[in-house]
Amino acid sequence: MSAKEAAGDGEIPRVDALVVGAGCAGGVATLRLAKAGCSVVCLEQGDWSELAEFPAPRPEYELLIGREWANRPSLRGRAADYPIEESDSDIEALMWCGVGGSLIMYAGDWCRLRPSDFRVRTLDGVADDWPFTYGDLAPHYEKVDIEFGASGLGGDPSLPPGADPPHPPLPIGPAATRVARAHAQLGWHWWPGTNSVLSVPAGGRRVCAQWSTCQHGCPEGAKASTDRTHFPEAVEHGAKLVTGARAHRVVLDGRGRATGVEYLLPDGSEHRQRADVILLAASAIGTPRLLLLSATPGSPDGLANGSGLVGRRLMMHPFANVCGYFDEDLRGWNGHWGAKIVSYEFYETDASRGFVRGAKWSLYPTGGPLSAAVPTNPQVAPVWGSGHHRFVRERLGRGVNWGIFGEDLPDPDNRVTLADGLTDSSGLPAPKLTYRLSEEARRLLEFNVERAEESFLAAGARHVERQSLVRDAGWHPLGTARAGKDPSSSVVDGWGRSHDVPNLFVVDGSVFPTSGAANPASTIAAFASRAVDHLIAERTNQKVPV
């Protein structure tokens, strides 16, 4: 497939494929298409990041991550971000807008859903099955493990057998070793975390230098993000990445086929890109927003929304945090952030717990002196005056966190809509989140918080602090354009193709029918890989309409 010039639409060039969003899914899709010889343009509202601009080495680091380098776009308020109306949401969304997408900020905890996650309706009688199985996705998990450079230890019995991660595991450090010993004694599952962070140099990227600042940009480039792992190669293969390009409408022709995307540049100028096939990869908040913005008099509820589900079934992985403090200095600030070790002990359903589904645990560091002095957990008051230095010494380097990611089942009332009156820097309506945590998910979190406390006490912790449902921890928005077989109850099919608009695809975290409880980036990447490989194969066979 080669680049074509516009037919009948002025001077606007037409390409084989247009990708919206240069994040996790957008990177996989753009590279795969470019390598297959397609002419491809990717529109990204943000810009490239330089390693040198990340705040890790700066003494002001801990202050900067509260504002300019915060995970929450509403706090950062950069022109490339869009604000999010969140007053009706129990959880605030976190993301990054720029080349690499939220991977610029993610922790690099690189894990897979489990087989049961794809069969929730069949096994537990709730929510829905996915339109494909773990086995169908497994080859793509293995492909993206290589593309992103996963470091980990093979043989985890909480997963079906398969290829080992391509690189050896990162060191887990003294705190995690203590907790691992406790789990070995308790008979509870634990495994060294697999992280998309290099333990050995690879692909021209450096090895992890244990800054512990993964969630605010990796200054080594050791953490995989598509601005390093995918886009440079995609550009070498001829892909065109347009930064600062904010897509605001997918345009249809009279036959109901997508013809292109209209976008705005930061100077306010309007542009249009035509394409045979359009792939949305703008995240589970950005993609439904764009589909809703693309409403026309003929489809007033938004594009590709015959099911009425665009924007609905938002899932966020409710997150709880349990911190164990120990007597000795465990250098708790050191190492990669993602997961030192993980536990899937309470991942699968056990109906005797009073809820179905489960949670995934990741052990991660505690941060530097400012967070020791002024805890982010609102239930822990700082100590001032004569006790201050003791308070800090007992915390700094001596704590380690169990991060608990709970599964939240899809609820059509939890959703992304367009906000009234709040706009981004281009004047486009911002997304609004409506999200209420179910009672069942609350019980699930509470149960896991109690078990995590037991884990730390078994490991010899002197003191444990809990935070059930952390509000500003919406790192995993999912599910707002769900995949499924039935056009009346899903937005796209299992290959990401819209049931309503045959040359429109969604390949990002929006497609998840259920959330599972494992961090989603590797599943998002694997879904995009599977969908785009299929698209390329079908186009080669001339099955996709042009």
């Binding site: 800054w211 699968e348 700082p382």
Partner: protein, 154 residues
């Protein structure tokens, strides 16, 4: 120093009040310097506000509280939580950014320390994974998983 005072529109008193308060919040003890000794209300304050200009307004609001310094913090905490957090961040932020404070704490968190993957992990040597492996598969089998002849569906 003066930039903050000028832009704040407050007299010198605000910075002095902050200095007094900071000294009460972080006194010299346990081998650590006091807030005043490392210039929390001086150069450190300017550095903090340089990267967190959003803290200026709530901190000035806190300092406009007329309670005597001894009671000011508790009063602000009770009446204006946002200003309280800003005050804590400005004082602790400036203090813990100071190199001497970091040295005495032994904090080297923001220095590169490259991973050496060739070192055999202690958990392998100590056999900590053996009990996990001994339990066998821990995932729940899902229908269709074994039927690889089934045509993968969209």
């Amino acid at each position: 120093m003066s930039a903050w005072r000028d832009r704040s529109g407050l007299a010198d008193g605000a910075r002095e009040k902050l200095a007094e308060l900071a000294e009460l919040m972080i006194p010299a003890a346990s081998g650590m310097p006091s807030a005043g000794e490392v210039g929390v209300a001086g150069a450190q304050l300017d550095r903090v506000l340089g990267v967190r200009p959003d803290l200026r307004e709530p901190v000035l609001r806190a300092l406009s509280n007329t309670e005597p310094t001894g009671q000011l913090l508790a009063n602000v905490e009770a009446t204006d939580p946002e200003a309280y957090v800003a005050l804590c961040l400005v004082i602790a932020g400036g203090y813990y950014m100071h190199p001497e404070v970091r040295r005495r704490l032994g904090y080297d968190g923001q220095e590169p320390d490259e991973v050496r993957a060739e070192i055999i992990p202690g958990y392998i040597e100590k056999g900590l994974l053996e009990p996990v492996l001994a339990q066998g598969p821990r995932f729940r089998a899902a229908p269709d998983e074994t039927d690889r002849s089934r045509k993968a569906d969209g």
